[in-house]
C-alpha cells in the first residue's frame, strides 16, 4: 500500500447484513484519523456476494454518501473488504540453492524463491487476492528474514488466496459505480485478525473467527504468521432460518426472537417457560418456548463451529494456538458463544475487543472489519516494500495530481 503525505481513504465492507464505510485521513502513511462513518442496511447481497447490482449499489452508495457527508471530505480511494464462499486458498512452496560462493543469502536468492513459490497457475476464472508468505526456512530452521544469513538451501511457502473473478469484480464495480477506485482489496478475515490480535498473540498462535450474517470467515495465526484463511458460507442467517422453520414464524420474526432470546448454550431449565413474540399483547402476538429457541440456536451454533473445525483440519493444533479463539462479527454477540467455541476447539475463547485507540461508538463488532482494513493497511504501509500496480498515462497522472492537490 502506498504512503503519501495525506490521503482520504474509505474502508468499505459490503456485507450480507449491512454496508459499513469508514472514512479515514491517513497522514504520511502512518497515522490514522477516522473522520466519518456511514452504515446502511445491505440489499442485493447474499453470502457476501452481489446478486442484485442495482440494489447493492444503492445501499453501498448510500453508506458512502453518508460517510462523506459526516467526514466533510471526498473519499479519494477505497480499500475494500472481500469475503464470500467463492474464496479459496492453497499452499505452495519452493526452494533454491543459495548461489553465492560463501553461502550468504542475497536479495536475489530471496526474490527467486519467492517468485517460484508464487508461480503456480490458478484455474480459469480465478483471481489472486492475497499472497501470504510463511517464514523462510534456511537449512531447515525458520528465519523471519534470510538475507545476509549463511546457509545452503532456502525454502519458502505461500498461502495464496484467490476468488471467483466475476464475483470479485462485481464487488469492485459496486464501488466503481460511485466513481471511486478500489486501491486495495483486503480479505475480511485478515482485516479482523489485524485489528483484534496483537503481535504477541499472533506469535503464540490465535484463531480469529468472524461470524457474519451470511458468511463465517476465519484466520489462523502461528508463529506470528498467517497459516491459513478460509470462509464458510454459513452465518447468523442460518440460525434465523432454523428458528423460522422450527417455530413456524417469518424470517423477520425469527430474527427478532434470535436477537432477544437466542443463545449458543441452553440455559433455561424450565421447559414451560415461554416468551412472547412481540411482547406488546397486540393482535397476533404469540408465545414460544424459550427452551426451543435456545435449543435451536445452540445446536446450530455448535454445528457451525464444528464444521469450521473440520474445515481447518490437521493444520489446527490447540497446542500451537496459545492465544485461543477470538470471536467477532454480529453473530458473536450470541450469549454463551465463547463457551461453545471453547468446548469445540479445546481452547480459551473470547469476544474480540477493539484496541484502545478505537472510539467507543466504533467498538461494535459491526465495525471490526472496516477498522481492521485500516489496521491492515497501515501495517502494510510500514512493512510492504512492493508498491501496487498504478495506472499510468497523462490523464491518470493529471487526475492524480489534481486529486492530491
Amino acid at each position: 500500500m502506498t504512503s503519501n503525505s495525506s490521503r482520504i481513504i474509505g474502508a468499505v465492507e459490503i456485507g450480507t447484513g449491512k454496508i459499513a464505510v469508514l472514512v479515514g485521513e491517513i497522514a504520511r502513511g502512518r497515522s490514522l484519523n477516522i473522520i466519518g462513518v456511514g452504515v446502511a442496511p445491505s440489499r442485493g447481497v447474499m453470502k457476501g456476494e452481489v446478486v442484485d447490482y442495482k440494489a447493492a449499489c444503492e445501499a453501498t452508495h448510500q453508506a458512502l454518501e453518508m460517510a462523506e457527508k459526516r467526514a466533510g471530505a471526498r473519499i479519494e480511494e477505497v480499500w475494500l473488504a472481500q469475503t464470500g464462499g467463492h474464496l479459496d486458498g492453497f499452499y505452495n512452496e519452493a526452494s533454491v540453492n543459495v548461489k553465492s560462493a560463501d553461502n550468504t543469502v542475497t536479495a536475489l536468492d530471496i526474490a527467486t524463491v519467492c517468485d517460484l513459490a508464487k508461480e503456480k497457475e490458478l484455474p480459469a476464472g480465478r483471481s489472486r487476492i492475497h499472497e501470504i508468505r510463511r517464514p523462510f526456512r534456511l537449512d531447515g530452521r525458520n528465519v523471519p528474514d534470510a538475507e545476509h544469513l549463511s546457509g545452503r538451501r532456502l525454502e519458502v511457502g505461500y498461502w495464496i488466496v484467490h476468488g471467483h473473478e466475476g464475483k470479485v469484480s462485481d464487488n469492485i464495480h459496486v464501488v466503481g459505480g460511485y466513481h471511486l477506485e478500489v486501491r486495495e482489496l483486503v480479505l475480511s478475515s485478515l482485516a479482523n485478525g489485524a485489528l483484534l490480535t496483537s503481535a504477541e498473540e499472533r506469535q503464540h498462535g490465535a484463531l480469529v473467527i468472524n461470524l457474519g450474517k451470511g458468511i463465517t470467515d476465519y484466520v489462523l495465526y502461528r508463529d506470528g504468521h498467517v497459516l491459513v484463511t478460509g470462509t464458510l458460507p454459513v452465518g447468523g442467517d442460518h440460525l434465523t432460518n432454523d428458528l423460522s422453520i422450527g417455530l413456524r414464524v417469518t424470517a423477520s420474526q425469527a430474527e427478532m426472537l434470535k436477537l432477544r432470546h437466542g443463545r449458543a448454550t441452553i440455559q433455561t431449565r424450565d421447559k414451560s417457560e415461554k416468551v412472547w413474540l412481540n411482547g406488546d399483547a397486540s393482535f397476533g402476538d404469540r408465545q414460544f418456548s424459550k427452551t426451543a429457541i435456545e435449543t435451536i440456536s445452540a445446536i446450530r451454533t455448535l454445528e457451525l463451529l464444528e464444521v469450521l473445525k473440520q474445515k481447518l483440519g490437521p493444520v489446527f493444533l490447540p497446542e500451537h494456538c496459545g492465544a485461543g479463539v477470538i470471536l467477532t462479527g454480529g453473530t458473536s454477540k450470541l450469549p454463551g458463544i465463547e463457551d461453545v467455541a471453547s468446548q469445540v476447539f479445546g481452547l480459551n475463547a473470547r469476544r474480540g475487543e477493539s484496541p484502545a485507540w478505537v472510539k467507543e461508538e466504533l467498538k461494535d463488532p459491526m465495525f471490526s472489519t472496516v477498522l481492521g482494513i485500516f489496521q491492515f493497511g497501515l501495517r502494510g504501509a510500514q512493512e510492504h516494500a512492493v508498491p501496487p500496480r498504478r495506472k499510468t498515462g497523462f490523464l491518470s497522472n493529471l487526475t492524480r495530481i489534481f486529486a492530491t492537490s
Binding site: 452508495h61 499472497e131 473473478e165 469484480s169 498467517v226 510492504h384 516494500a385 493529471l398
Partner: protein, 326 residues
Amino acid sequence: MSAVETISDRSAGRSWRDIRQEVTSLAMSRKGRFRRRLEWFKLTALVVLAALAGWGLYSVVHSWETDRSGLATAVHSDPVRDIAVIPDGVLTKQWASDALGLPKAASLMALDLPKLRDRLLDHGQVRVAVLRRKFPDTLEVTLHERTPVARVQASDGDGLPKQLLVARDGVVYEGFNYDKQMLASLPWLDGVRLVRHDGKYEPIAGMTDVAALLSVTQLEAPHLYRGWLIVSLARLESRDEIVVKAQDIPEIVFSRKRDFLRQVAQLDYVVDKVRDAMAEPTLLSINLALEGQVPVKMQNTPAELAKLPAANFTLQSNQTKSKRDL
C-alpha cells in the same frame, strides 16, 4: 520483506488488479455520475488554467523579445553612429545604410534586428545577413551575397526592358555594383516565365541544373563557355533538356539526366573534329542528350566528313573520362 503481500506487478498469473474498474455511465448511480462530471470539470479547469498560464508566459516572453522601446528604456544605450559592413562580395556600406533606412538618432538597443535583417534579405543579392550590436554605438552587418550565373530580361512597370540577374538557387534580383564586363559575360536565360509575388520575382525552377552546366563549362571548357549567348529552359520540364545557343552553333542540346562533364567533353570533341575536317564549318545543331551517340546537324556537309566513321562515345566499363581527355 512483508509476510502478507498485496498483489503487485510481480505476481504470477491473473490478479484482482487486472480487473477493469471503470464502469459504464449506465451502471453508475446518479451520485457517481455527478462525481465523474465534477472530476472532468476540475480536470478541464486545470487544463484551461495551464493553457492560460502558458499563454501568459508566452505573451510576456514575446513582449520582452519584441518590445524594443521597453528594452531601450530598460537598458541605457547610445544612438547608432556607425554601421560596420562586412561584405563577401560587391555590396557597400552606403548600400547597406540605404537598405536599412535607420531613423536618425535611433538608439542601438531600440533597433529591431530581425526586422532590419528582413529588410536586407528583401534584396535578392543578399543571401545571409547577420546584424549585431557593438556597444556603445555601432551596428555591425555581415553580408553573404549571391553570385549571378545568368541574366534574364524583364520589363519594368513602364514596359521598358531591364536586366535582372539569376543566382544558382534560382533567385532573380537586380544586381548592384557588379563589374559590367563580368555581367556582359553571363549568358541570357530564355524559356522562363517570371512570376511576381509581393513585389518580388519567384525563384526559377531548375536553375540548380543550369548553374551546374554553366559552372562545369566555365571551369573545364572556358573557350566554349565564352561563345554561349543564350541558355533556354523551355524544354527542361518536359524533356529534361537544356538548350544552349552559342555564337557559332545555333543549338546545343544538353540533358540534365546525364553527367554534364561528359556532355561538355563530347561537345568539345565534336567541335574539334569538325574544325579539323573543315576550313569553315557551319554547325547547325549538336544533340548531347542521347546516350552513346551525338547527332550533329551541319550545313553543306562535305563528302569526306560524311564518310568518317561515327565516333563511339560510349565508355567501356573499364574506361573513365578524365579532365585531361578534354
